[in-house]
């Protein structure tokens, strides 16, 4: 027999700040004392986020969400909620809005809102019927039979949807350029060439809800007068490719792609094109060249692809996340969509939250959510009680967001104002153990590798910047190097042919701006405070503290620690590779890092 109530207590051992275990035991005792053990099951759960508000108790089935619950509240929760069925108001997360019994009552505490990811984790992506059952292809229906192209464009403009690939260009305006350009042949292109390190929003969308992209592309085809679409996707995404291909085949079988869709005069089909993984192919002109079978190199704009794109024809090109928004905007309307977000940026943004964060994962939040809400309420904060240092957004084209902007509502403009960018949605969290010079070097190395080499500011400028950063990380930097970096950055931004070169210096400028003192420490003092730059640090054994347990010597992979049992050990600095294993192993704090 099932229980009437379920008391969920977040009692994860990973959650140091929470006193969940004591609370769990108190609740257990109370259930017994008040004789209602058979009424409610007490369950320990994994992390729910909101760690600063912990311990958290959630009661099912009514979804009551209690925060800052202590063992002293156990008696009350059992007596009131379990026995009398009344919520304990003062413990509710949102005291104004009591939880109801409907499933959407979880709205009131959750920071996420899923528009793009509405079907991910809900439907079986390999069955078109499940997509159709959740209003799938209803937007296409509406566009074909009830709306004119101009009406669709007006709806998108009114909704305020902006390109989610990173640049944030208004989607409705882009479509209107293509619609208003006379041509016998037009194309619709989906950019699924996701390349930023740590970003996987588009992969998950294509894997979890491929039809949302197909439907949106068909909507664009109808709107601008195109009958052919291409999805450009990286060959490294085999599962996404498989599910897209399967989805295209099913849509064709149902007559939702192909000739005379749903018996109308509108015909539209989609094909996949696989990219070989060059980062620059995410840039739209390089992407189009690659679809045409040419080498993926950018060309100067204008003309923009919306006017002169694939094979010289007007082409709408949008990113996966932008596409996935569109069916919902058509169905629920511009007013609904524009009610979400900030003044300048409407809707939601999907972020791939990774790095030094407890609950890494794919999140979708309304624009205007603060970094603090993302990192602490959703992400659960930094593991091991370390201190937050920065979050990197925008990948190799972006910059860092520091503690100062934790409470800034996120949108395209606010991120740009602090020297970073929205980017495609990678968000890498860094803590005090991360060195900003090391991180910057990583991004530069990436951009240098991925430069196509066509224009010299990017090809030579990027390499030169990297070499200077490398010098600084080895303690060989000079003060004038910082000026050289700034000059090079300026030149690359102005003179590079495409977005790749123009934005390669962004991580440098952003870190020099916010973490100047770390650059100065590396240059003037030869010191890396995070201990990441191996040339600037050493592990040494403090003689007085070492008891000669030999643990460090046994774990050393290059056998450079010597010493007798029960006598102080010594590290051979010439042989040491600074892996830090001895430091982690020592139980007596006898090894110094620095």
């Amino acid at each position: 027999m099932a229980f009437k109530n379920y008391i969920l207590v977040c009692a994860g051992t990973a959650c140091e700040s929470s006193k969940g275990i004591a609370l769990y035991e108190a609740l257990e005792k109370e259930l017994k004392a008040q004789g209602v053990e058979g009424e409610a099951q007490l369950v320990k759960t994994g992390c729910f986020g909101f760690c600063e508000q912990g311990p958290i108790v959630k009661i099912l089935p009514d979804e009551s969400f209690y925060v800052k619950v202590g063992p002293e509240h156990a008696q009350q929760i059992v007596a009131e909620h379990i026995i009398k069925g009344r919520q304990v108001k003062e413990l509710l997360y949102d005291k104004e809005q009591a939880a109801g019994t409907s499933s959407d009552s979880i709205d009131f505490y959750q920071k996420q809102q899923r528009i793009v990811l509405r079907n991910c984790g809900v439907i079986n992506p390999e069955f078109i019927d499940e997509y159709i059952a959740r209003e799938g292809y209803a937007a296409l229906e509406k566009v074909i039979f009830e709306m004119t192209g101009d009406e669709v464009i007006e709806e998108l403009k009114a909704a305020g949807l902006r390109g989610r690939g990173g640049a944030g260009f208004p989607t409705g305006i882009k479509w209107s350029f293509t619609k208003n350009t006379e041509s016998d042949q037009k194309y619709i292109v989906c950019n699924a060439d996701e390349g930023d390190p740590g970003a996987y929003m588009d992969r998950s969308t294509c894997e979890g809800d491929p039809h949302s992209v197909l439907e949106a592309m068909a909507i664009a085809g109808r709107t601008v007068g195109a009958n052919q679409g291409f999805i450009y996707i990286r060959a490294e995404y085999p599962l996404a490719i498989e599910r897209l291909e399967n989805a295209i085949a099913q849509a064709r079988e149902y007559g939702l792609l192909g000739d005379n869709i749903l018996g109308s005069d509108f015909s539209f089909d989609i094909e996949l094109r696989l990219g070989a993984g060059a980062f620059v192919c995410g840039e739209e002109t390089a992407l189009l060249a690659s679809i045409e079978g040419k080498r993926g190199m950018p060309i100067p704009r204008p003309p923009f692809p919306a006017v002169k794109g694939l094979w010289g024809q007007p082409s709408v090109i949008n990113n996966v996340e932008t596409w996935a928004n569109i069916p919902m905007i058509i169905l629920k309307g511009a007013a609904w969509f524009s009610s979400i977000g900030t003044e300048s940026t409407k809707g939601t943004k999907v972020f791939a939250l990774t790095g030094k964060i407890k609950n890494s994962g794919l999140i979708e939040v309304p624009m205007g959510t603060t970094l603090r809400e993302i990192i602490y309420d959703i992400g659960g904060g930094i593991p091991s009680g370390k201190k937050f240092k920065a979050a990197q957004t925008g990948g190799p084209s972006g910059g860092v967001l520091t503690e100062e902007v934790l409470d800034t509502p996120i949108d395209y403009e606010s991120l740009q104002a602090v020297g970073s960018m929205m980017g495609s949605g990678g968000m890498i969290v860094m803590d005090e153990d991360d060195c900003m010079i090391d991180v910057t070097k990583f991004y530069l190395e990436f951009s240098v590798d991925e430069s196509c080499g066509k224009c010299s500011p990017c090809r030579i400028g990027g390499r030169t910047c990297y070499n200077i950063l490398d010098k600084i990380s080895k303690g060989q930097g000079k003060m004038e190097d910082l000026d050289t970096l700034k000059d090079l950055a300026q030149a690359m931004r102005k003179a590079s042919l495409c977005g790749l070169g123009q934005t390669t210096p962004n991580p440098i400028m952003s870190t020099i701006n916010y973490f100047n003192e770390e650059y100065l420490e590396h240059i003037n003092e030869g010191k890396c405070r995070a201990g990441k730059c191996k040339d600037l640090m050493a592990y040494t054994i403090v003689e007085d503290k070492c008891i000669g347990c030999t643990a460090c010597a046994r774990v050393c992979p290059v056998n450079c620690i010597s010493g007798e049992v029960k006598a102080a050990h010594v590290i051979d600095q010439d042989q040491c590779i600074k892996c830090g294993q001895c430091f982690d192993k020592c139980k007596f704090d006898a090894i110094l890092k620095g």
Binding site: Y6, Q41, Q110, Q112, I132, F145, L239, E253, L362
Partner: protein, 129 residues
């Protein structure tokens, strides 16, 4: 199915909608496994096999196992959503083969939630119809 007309699409949508709502009120249980790249990499296929095996060994025939995409809880993959009639739907994380077997024994058979593996659904559903 052959190519559809507008009316056929609408009929299909309505009948599938009904089917999915009915499924919620059904007598049988449902197990939905997150099988995006992240889930599979974390061992979702092992969990899938363990569910099948454990259900078979208890001769449970009316529980459906299906797959879905990524729920976004990458830190706790593989993730599984379990719906048993008259019990709240819950999401389990870190479901390896052993946890999958526990879910069948404790949740599906004994009608109790499985401790230490419940996570929160990330957001409310925007598709309400």
């Amino acid at each position: 199915m052959a190519k559809m007309t507008l009316e056929e699409l609408r009929n299909l949508r309505n009948s599938k909608k009904k089917e999915m709502t009915q499924r919620d009120g059904e007598k049988s249980a449902q197990i939905v496994i997150g099988m995006g790249t992240c889930g599979i990499a974390a061992g979702a296929k092992d969990a899938f096999d363990a569910f099948l095996d454990e259900l078979n060994s208890h001769e449970i025939k009316d529980t459906r196992i299906t797959q879905t995409g990524c729920m976004g809880l990458c830190f706790s993959e593989p993730t599984v959503e379990v719906a048993v009639p008259d019990m709240p739907r819950v999401i389990y994380g870190n479901v390896d083969a052993e946890v999958a077997r526990r879910i069948v024994r404790e949740h599906i058979i004994e009608k109790k939630l499985v401790s230490d593996h419940i996570f929160d659904k990330p957001a409310a559903d925007i598709i309400t119809d």
